[in-house]
Amino acid sequence: MTKVVITGSACQRFTGGRTELEVAATTFRRLVLELEERFPGLGKQVEEGMAVAIDGEIFQDAYSAKFSPDSEVVLIPKIGGG
């Protein structure tokens, strides 16, 4: 199981305030499906509105990203710039 960390409030509203989840997924696409199943709305929020940091590297679009059970997976807001 991979630990997914939710630090900001954007996703916590779907999880009832939970900041850590254990997921069976090892790909971003599976993660989205699992989150949507467990917390309706969260998968869509993650897929469309969030970036994902996997082992410290921020993926603005993690659609093809993979991770392992040991990975650090953090859901953070998407970053823009000036």
């Binding site: 590297e57 998407k78 710039g81 000036g82």
Partner: protein, 761 residues
Amino acid sequence: MNYVSSDLKVVGTRPIRPDGVEKVTGRAQFGADMRMAGMIWGKVLRSPHAHAKILSIDTSKAEKLPGVKAVVTAKDFPHIANEEAFVGEGPMNFRDLSRNCLAWDKALYEGHAVAAVAAATPAIADAALELIDVNYEVLPYVIDVEDAMADNAPVLHEDLFTAGVEPKPTKPSNIAKVVTFKKGDAEAGFKDADVIIEGRYTTKAVHQAYIEPHACLCWHNPDGQVMIYSSSQGHFMVRAYCSKLLGINIANIRAVPLEIGGGFGGKTLVYLEPVAIALSKKAGRPVKMQMTRDEVFRASGPTSGATMEVKLGAKKDGSIVAARQVLKYQAGAFPGSPIGPGCMCGFAMYDIPNVDVVGYDVVSNRPKVAAYRAPGAPISSWAVECALDDLARKLGKDPIEIREQNGARNGTKTHYGPTHQNIGFLETLKAAKNHPHWQAPLKPGQGRGIACGFWFNIGGESSAGCHIGEDGTVVAVSGNPDIGGSRASIGMMVAEVLGVPAEQVRTIIPDTSSIGFSFLTGGSRVTFATGMAATQAAERVVEDLKRRAAQIWEIPVEAVEWKDGKAYPAGSNAGAFEPLDLATLALRAGRTGGPIGAEVSLNAQGAGPGFGVHIADVEVDHETGAVKILRYTAIQDVGKAIHPSYVEGQIQGGAAQGIGWALNEEYIYDKNGKMDNSGFLDYRVPVASDVPMIEAVMVEVPNPRHPFGARGVGEVPIIPPMAAIGNAICAATGVRLHDLPMSPPKVRAALDEVAPKMAAE
């Protein structure tokens, strides 16, 4: 392929900038330079009120004025639902964007566009604006962020309910969103602290102050084809937004990028283009529009002003054990301040076990904010870096050493979640400590300050190409407008891969119908992401060239190597052949498979974050309150400087804008909620005589995810200046200023306030 450890011949050198001659001779084509046969002029009628219901708009008199070809209002735009939509450019509330281009039922700020005309001449268009009769019901307005948060504040949007709080509110509010980030237990951390520092800080809205006002020329052909000529930070962004706002198929819009006279984030939106297209469609003529400087200030996005509270707790040895920040950011008339990154950046540079950050995104009767270099970060870092300086002073610690002691390094877990990897913050601090500036003596009355900055940097979708001409010269193609030197850097990376001089490569930026999609030029992403695409395109060309050489020599392609712009047999076993250079292979291209070229589209990930450390020396005139910057050094981890002069220019430019933010720039409102200083005489950006030579020091900790190690460099340098200068003023005078800008009246008032106390001591 990764070239970080290679013997680089082009990358890292300083060839003459490719756009230099056109710009210094005044020949470069900016938005306002465009002309087209049959062109007419568009002008915008703007609200004189900060907040008003639009009861009716009567355009009949204007339409009858000879020379007027079209009049449009928001009713000429399709109705768009109030929801975020995705068209490849990230989330955007297109209803709000549409209503910002032309007000729907309410004018939400002074300067809000309410109608537009197109006429044969600018003078006729101006006269027509005078004939449009708008019946307003003036409403109470609110400008200040904390006033807007108050229970009794005038509400801008009846359908805006605060997101991010539970239970979901049932009453509309100007607080669009609350965001929180927590790490550890801040309350327990503060209890464990030996020393506590607290402060309340404010910043004012400041404009990006690009020299070139927004301008466009648009032509809605009767067959539905649309041409857009405009200077922006992304012609694909312009295409996508116009498509969405006007209901036009993307394939029917061709957006042509022009030179851009500065953007800094402020040109990542559309203001005029959809209006010009709507006017053109009605008039059957090409329509040109350009803002005046007054319009730029009143109607295009500045960045947020803010109010913040910051609290730091530390042990006597200087280790920070707890931190808290509350941030309230102005969003302008529609939700969407940079509160998220603001919350994430303030403490991102430090390894703090217990952190609590709360941010508020607040609408008020101001122009909708737009991105501005490292959006949100300069504001939050202004507060944090000043508080950290106070902490160092209270503990008797050196301000660099306390940052080194608590500084983020590889493996530091941030308060917003991710663990830092491959970062160069400590290296920049070390470079600052070892720089002669830090050791140089100061005269009495002078002060030195230091502050740091962090920005994530981003990658994203990019397209680039590499095409070999018949004579062996090279055209590199980039999908991104060149704002900070990307034509040079992309051409140089292509030249490096091909093994040819930089001068042999010409980089161009084609229109949206001539290259694959590229996300906009922003977030310091282009040299990283589009440069990655260009590098890969050049690598594909090299592979193709090797294949062609192998075909000519009748040997396996594996027996060919590419070096210094030529194909060589790889060792004596491959055969004894004279090398084939690019020109020779290009000449024979028809016989070996046809034209030589490649395009690559990718979605780049792995942008390495950037860190900067700035040192400022100041002198304060106690009579006038004027602050003079005596010396300024900006140190930054740039990964790898592709063209060092451009990188230095980015660092110097960001620092200069930060100096303006620190000392003079601010939106000033009168008692009626109208901007009082919408011109460069009254909104004072720094001029050459205000700023010393800014020494840019490049630290190079390569980003392993980029073929040449590049990191984005354009965002970081605007983050530290405000606090570096504030800390220098504090060192010079003993007075801590909490409010930006630290303009002469404010400095003088602060000095006057403490003078009796200091005299008594």
